[in-house]
Symmetry: C2
Subunit: 207 residues, 2 copies
């Protein structure tokens, strides 16, 4: 039963308008990254983002600095999480093979918990200064992983009939490929993905 428009009750106690939480930069970043991943960064217009957020383009601009700033924030979030893994004690001390396995596992976990941000990072092409900066940070992380593999191979703990660079790229390429299919339709649990991926890689690279 809806009270007639204009009654006293309707005027003094208007039906509660379905009210969303007020937007902040973090919320809209989440919206933006989702759309970026669906349509690609360059394939997404600010109009697309505003529509996804349910406001106009101008309102959207009230909250964020622009398209490129959104991309930078998303990439930084992914990269900060990856570098935090690199700086954990278990990544820096001990046998190289143990550190390698630890980094594989933790990287996969980050990839799943920060999935949209890592996905976007992995697709960056280098068209702007922002993108080049993200690529450079990413390459730094890649050098860290390549060093791990090289050391573990020198220790005799990884098969050495494959070039270290190729082994590194296959290992982390396998992990990164998870971003290509692990979406909301999650028929596989995160733990199963981590255990499965790390297990297959480790066995595949055993001496």
């Amino acid at each position: 039963m809806k009270p007639a428009v204009g009654t006293v009750a309707a005027e003094r106690r208007p039906a509660p308008i379905p009210r969303r939480a007020p937007y902040d930069a973090t919320t809209l970043l989440e919206v933006a990254v989702t759309v970026f991943n669906e349509r690609g960064y360059d394939g997404t217009s600010m109009e697309d983002l505003a529509r996804a957020a349910g406001i106009t383009k101008s309102s959207f601009y009230h909250h964020v600095d622009g398209k490129e700033a959104l991309l930078a924030a998303a990439c930084d979030r992914a990269l900060d999480a990856l570098f935090a893994v690199r700086d954990e004690p278990a990544s820096t001390a001990g046998r190289a093979i143990d550190r390698f396995e630890y980094v594989l596992r933790r990287t996969t976990q980050i990839l799943l918990t920060e999935l949209p941000y890592v996905t976007l990072l992995l697709r960056v092409r280098g068209n702007t200064a922002t993108e080049l900066a993200a690529l450079e940070r990413r390459r730094e992380f890649d050098r860290f992983t390549a060093d791990l593999v090289t050391q573990a191979m020198a220790d005799g703990d990884l098969r050495s009939d494959i070039e270290p660079g190729l082994a590194t790229r296959l290992a982390f390429g396998t992990l990164n490929s998870v971003t290509e299919w692990y979406r909301v339709a999650r028929e596989t649990s995160p733990d199963a993905v981590v255990d499965g991926a790390v297990g297959v890689i480790v066995r595949g690279l055993q001496p």
Copy 2:
């Protein structure tokens, strides 16, 4: 020694202008795919393509039907090569494990020989009808590979402590990740990539 401008020799036998082969649709597709892979499809304008070909945008349009047609042609080239693998005798007869290994190897070879086209295909997002059609063909190929893995697992020839779908995705995700780094700077030979990738995957998935 350059003859002075205006001499008889210069007028009758003009210095040979560095003449390129006349453009055809295939040549320009090659140019386009290269730029698409560098800057991303949506990040590339027809102006970019024309500049890369050394002609104007209008001249470029004289040879090709448009941006989307270029994408469709590139995806078709990659998909035709993949489906040709699927239809080879060694992919359709024999034990599933042998067919699986054969398809892994052949797919990697296609990936390297048709690298730019496969790279572009793997990045398609589904923004237009053209892209959706390419994605649908790709999914058909994915179903073929998933069936192979499922059968080989049922035969007891692949480890069964991993879901078949996860195993398939890890295996072909590893292969596909090659497109992310195997560019012109080829420090690793194609054969080493094929042997390395297939070898790591097969060992990683052994029972």
